[in-house]
Subunit: 344 residues, 2 copies
């Protein structure tokens, strides 16, 4: 045992996992891709098997003060499905393990599982395993999702090429603004319990935070159109952070355009009310569960016509770095300010 004490925050979440797993080599012939993408890729027979896992901890990833348990169950499943779609796969099975404090009742767990069940029904996924255990502290949720993909269809983070178009589905920053709203109302409620929150006109951003969807529809649309992305990941930590992952792993740079970033009007109004920079929220907010992907320049016309997908920029040579072109033409370097639970 060593006596050194290096603070974890010096490495950050991604640095930490890289550091801890760098000495592990893949030895099994069935292991195609290990740590470092949205899901691991395994080869058993004809199909590629995708495996992703998420650990959600009370107080870090969710707040039961304002999160209904059914929604939490739904979201816990969705975030895993999203990782499988981000590999261009189809989620097939999940396992759900829970750490439960004694204050929970059977009825509350039923609520949670009803959300899991709804998500499984919507996305065509089977619950195949898991367990429950006591927890001395908060509610702990661990979900693993198994997906399937044709061998030649799996999309990694490292396939972006110079001149590829950068695309994103849906809109960004809404889940983050929904979270800000919920946190504000929680604080208000603490001060004066009689004040009931008024969420009228803010339904969209609340739903994006509390009951997000995974973009099965976009994956199906791309398949129908026979468009194969060159790289892809889901936007869970914020567009800026994810784009830097793709560029780093693909050894490229990028340019995105501020005026192309898709933002819903409710997100914009909320940012205004909170006096927050709207583009910062869209770039770094996280929990959007949209798909960020690149396609060859030759697909420009076809991809531009697809509903729900926006071309926001292009991939460059690595020497050009990663920048956003602001509305006034200035270049702003992209930094990974994304949600990082290991920093203070």
């Amino acid at each position: 045992m060593t006596n050194q004490h290096t603070e974890i925050s010096t490495l950050g979440e991604f640095g930490l996992i890289d550091h801890l797993t760098k000495s592990f080599k893949l030895e099994q012939s069935s292991s195609v891709k290990g740590v470092g993408d949205d899901a691991a890729v395994l080869r058993y027979g004809e199909k590629e098997i995708l495996v992703t896992t998420d650990l959600l901890l009370e107080g870090i990833h969710f707040d039961l003060t304002y999160t209904p348990l059914k929604h939490l169950g739904y979201k816990s499943a969705i975030v895993n499905f999203s990782d499988i779609y981000a590999m261009n796969g189809k989620p097939q099975q999940i396992t759900v393990s829970l750490g439960i404090s004694k204050r929970f009742s059977v009825e509350q767990l039923e609520e949670f599982y009803s959300g899991i069940k709804l998500a499984c029904a919507h996305y065509g996924v089977d619950l195949v395993g898991g367990d429950t255990s006591a927890s001395l502290t908060g509610f702990t949720i661990s979900i693993t999702c198994i997906g399937m993909a044709d061998k030649e269809k799996v999309v990694y983070r490292n396939g972006a090429k110079e001149n590829d178009l950068i695309c994103v589905s849906g809109d960004l920053g809404a889940a983050y603004m929904g979270l800000q709203l919920l946190e504000r109302e929680k604080a208000v409620f603490k001060e004066a319990e009689s004040v009931q929150p008024d969420f009228a006109g803010k339904e969209y951003i609340l739903e994006r935070q509390l009951k997000p969807e995974a973009r099965k529809d976009i994956i199906e649309l791309l398949a129908e159109q026979n468009i194969q992305p060159t790289s892809m990941m889901d936007v869970s930590d914020g567009l800026s952070s994810e784009l830097l992952h793709i560029c780093k792993q693909s050894n490229t740079g990028c340019r995105i355009y501020e005026d192309r970033i898709p933002i819903d009007y409710q997100t914009a109004i909320m940012a205004e009310q909170f006096n927050m920079n709207l583009v910062t929220a869209a770039l770094n907010g996280g929990e959007d569960y949209e798909l960020l992907f690149t396609v060859p320049l030759s697909e420009h016309e076809r991809i531009s016509e697809l509903k729900g997908i926006k071309v926001i920029g292009h991939i460059t040579a690595p020497s050009l770095g990663c920048y956003m072109i602001a509305r006034d033409g200035t270049e702003i370097e992209l930094v990974a300010q994304g949600w990082n639970s290991l920093k203070d």
Copy 2:
């Protein structure tokens, strides 16, 4: 949301999972077996894919006061491998997700991962994914293991037939006695910090608690000998509890013999010192990670000759119930007193 509040302890761990998942049906053609065995079974192409997952929580499943982090990493991996062997499969890949409190250093996590790595190297398993997150409370470990098996070789809990022989590998109760010893020394140390524990002559039970192994060797031995068990599971919650699972799922009864239960002499000495009933410890102690399995009566001669495997009884008609024949010939009904973290 319902206002009812049913205490979780009224259902217990297995009752709870059954209750929560009973309305889930398997819809995907790739889902062969869901909740209710050591691992889920999926069919993708020629091979069966096995998936198992374990959530380990500080204060519930381990105590960092006396558990070295390297050992904890090793054991966390092993308990998952054991579930795959219990299906007659071979573990191939694992994912490791951690919830980490701020008091942890990078060096401590390196220790933990060095244990994971050692286990992976010993058992020929690849680490392929996972993540780290902050935890507001204790250290949280979530591991998922993927295994592989030939279609016709997978062994479930529900295949035991009347007259089958009940077999167990290794010996039982040692890990439990090791835990008792560690708990005692922890209490002593709290009283008087200068008193150093004396573990001489108790190495075996400590190793069984702190650094257990999964029975890869037994699975390989059975395969070499071309002996196909009719049912199997690993002994994690105690022999009594596991045997009741097999009998319930196979719709059978059983008889085991007290004088055939394999127990190491260190376990016996420790039980004597603690004034504990030795057979109770062996039946209900848990964390043995031995294999409990049944084979047809026709295999009696061959199985009896195999080193490290003991025939402890036989399967009966369901109407005869589940009993242990004590040394004095009395029949004692088996009850699941196994470790149940959801009870007080």
